[in-house]
Symmetry: none
DNA sequence: TATGAATGAGCCTTCATTCAT
DNA sequence: CATGAATGAAGGCTCATTCAT
């Protein structure tokens, strides 16, 4: 017989709905801009009433934070797991950049929102965790990069260049091209590493 | 006694004041965000009354456009002049990137505003000119790059990487470091060009 | 085995629960204010879900009316019974004020809500009954007062003063003091009646 | 010749306009209730745009505070001046109550708003000054009352009764009756003082 | 009965812009 | 040219109420 939704199932439904809001908001905001999209418009695009969003988030900024959390935290986690594994330095860098570009490509909307709102993220106290995760990830990249034999440029410049390249990918990447996520990543790494 | 300012002098003063507004707005908006800074706040930071801004610009968006014009047009002009000169391809690329990075560094605030507002620039009809200038500049870079012997990566990827690196420079560059504008530019070019 | 509750028992339980909602609402609203307390907050304080309140009351205002009914109707009824009894005028006044102060003290929260919402009660059509009961009670006090030998002040002023004193009691009364309900009442009456 | 408005005159105009808003808000809120009157409605009644109110007050609650300040501070000041003068205790009480009732009657709307919002005033930190002034005034009355030969009731009860009477005056007083402010005050005092 | 997700009307407030001075 | 009071159109958010479960 049909089972009534249990408390757990209700929680799952809540989580699913919440995730839909996060993803939908990222999609709309990436296209139209955060400040250019009213909560009304967002709700309309999500097919719910404006007030409904406030069941899941206490305000527009909290929703923005959720989007950034969803972007930064999984990336940092996976990167840490990857770095913990044994590997040759160059291979490790290659894997890290692949992982990273894959995330940028898979969560392109989140990424575009993240970059769009950089000046907001850099300021408020409520953004501290996001800032810390971003910083931690950049440190990780820095360390991996330091162990590699790169072309003869200032190491800090190499890091900055890599950050610039990868993050900028969100601005131009279109799926269905022959430039897949891993080809892009390999290209970036090839620019950095010393020719063999 | 004091001579009355002539018509020309008035015009100069007007232009000087207008430029001060543009630069001040870029500075404030780069730090606090365009939408996060009200016209009142901006005026206060500029030391004038809110209404005063409307003597120079018909609205907030016109001021934003002026900032972007101030960034994109001189860059495109200088780049065109540079490309018109005779030079070896690799040297030409190097000079172009130097010019470009120099602009990014000198007009860092303008650049940060420009990037912050990318989704706005990409949409409205009033942004057509800015979009055209940006596109023209990117084409120029593409052409210069195509003539160079770069490392063996997809040419479109090399262009995208270069755009990413250089634009991202605005996010981290601080004056007074040993990484000067031209060293940064040279580093970027070194990453792209085939090792000799 | 456990007997199913009878229809009557269900009704009793319904009434008991309803009364708990009335009293709980009076308590919360007296402290936090009616408009400052959302139905959600109220429900939480009562240990039920927001929707649950609507099983007993068709809306927030109906609940407010119930609180006022609970205050005004018993008072008027008891006052009428008291006045119907034989007694010397001064003694009758004393008993009436005792009864009245006792109500104010026992239903202090109801009273505070009642006073807080005076401007609401004075307006809407749905408040006609409450207004009528209040008016009837005040007439009763007026009549009882008229028969007494009061100090030589305008009778209307004496009535107003008495109303002011007694109603204000809700604002400061705290149980466990030596000022009991009947001592307070006697004090008020002593102020009004001519010295013997 | 016509003088241009000086900076001082502009300030005066600002103050006058601000006072109009305070008085108008008191009038509307006394009649319709603070929470029952939207800022829009209030502005309409004042003949200005809704946003205009925010030139003088940073929010609805600040306007409410201004109303209460306008009520409590002058009263406290005048009462202090009065108490500082030489006088027989009973005469001093009479003058104090006259002053007090006169204020209640002259600022009837302010008073009604003040009472209506008692539970709000009693809570927030932004109400500390108003609470302090109210308390200081009540202390003053208490001291003056203590020196008088009152009827044989508990002194605290006498004070509470007086507070109840006087404050309640705002609820029923209508101008043009034969019960003038000073007759009302004298009546109240006569109730309290021992018969001669 | 009870729940709590969802609704949608309306509120307070902000802010780009105007205009009399 | 400059000011700053005033406007009015949204915007974010709250909350009483409904209803499927």
């Amino acid at each position: 017989m049909a089972t009534r939704p249990t408390r757990k199932a209700l929680g799952e439904r809540y989580d699913r709905r919440r995730q839909e809001v996060v993803d939908g908001a990222a999609r709309e905001w990436a296209r139209r801009g955060v400040e250019q999209t009213s909560v009304q418009q967002l709700a309309e695009a999500l097919g719910i009433a404006a007030g409904g969003i406030y069941h899941y988030f206490s305000g527009k900024e909290q929703l923005l934070i959720a989007i950034c959390d969803d972007l930064v935290n999984p990336l940092l986690e996976e990167a840490r797991a990857l770095v913990a594994r044994e590997a040759a330095p160059e291979e490790r860098l290659r894997e890290l950049v692949r992982l990273w570009v894959a995330q940028v490509v898979e969560r392109q909307d989140h990424m575009l929102v993240f970059q769009q709102q950089r000046h907001v993220i850099d300021r408020g106290a409520q953004w501290k965790d996001v800032r810390a995760s971003r910083k931690a990830f950049e440190r990780l990249v820095e360390q991996v990069l330091e162990e590699c034999a790169t072309r003869p440029v200032d190491p800090r410049l190499a890091l900055a260049a890599l950050l610039g390249m990868v993050n900028h990918t969100a601005q131009w990447y279109r799926p269905r091209g022959h430039l897949t996520s891993s080809r892009i990543a390999d290209g970036y790494v090839d620019l950095l590493l010393a020719a063999e």
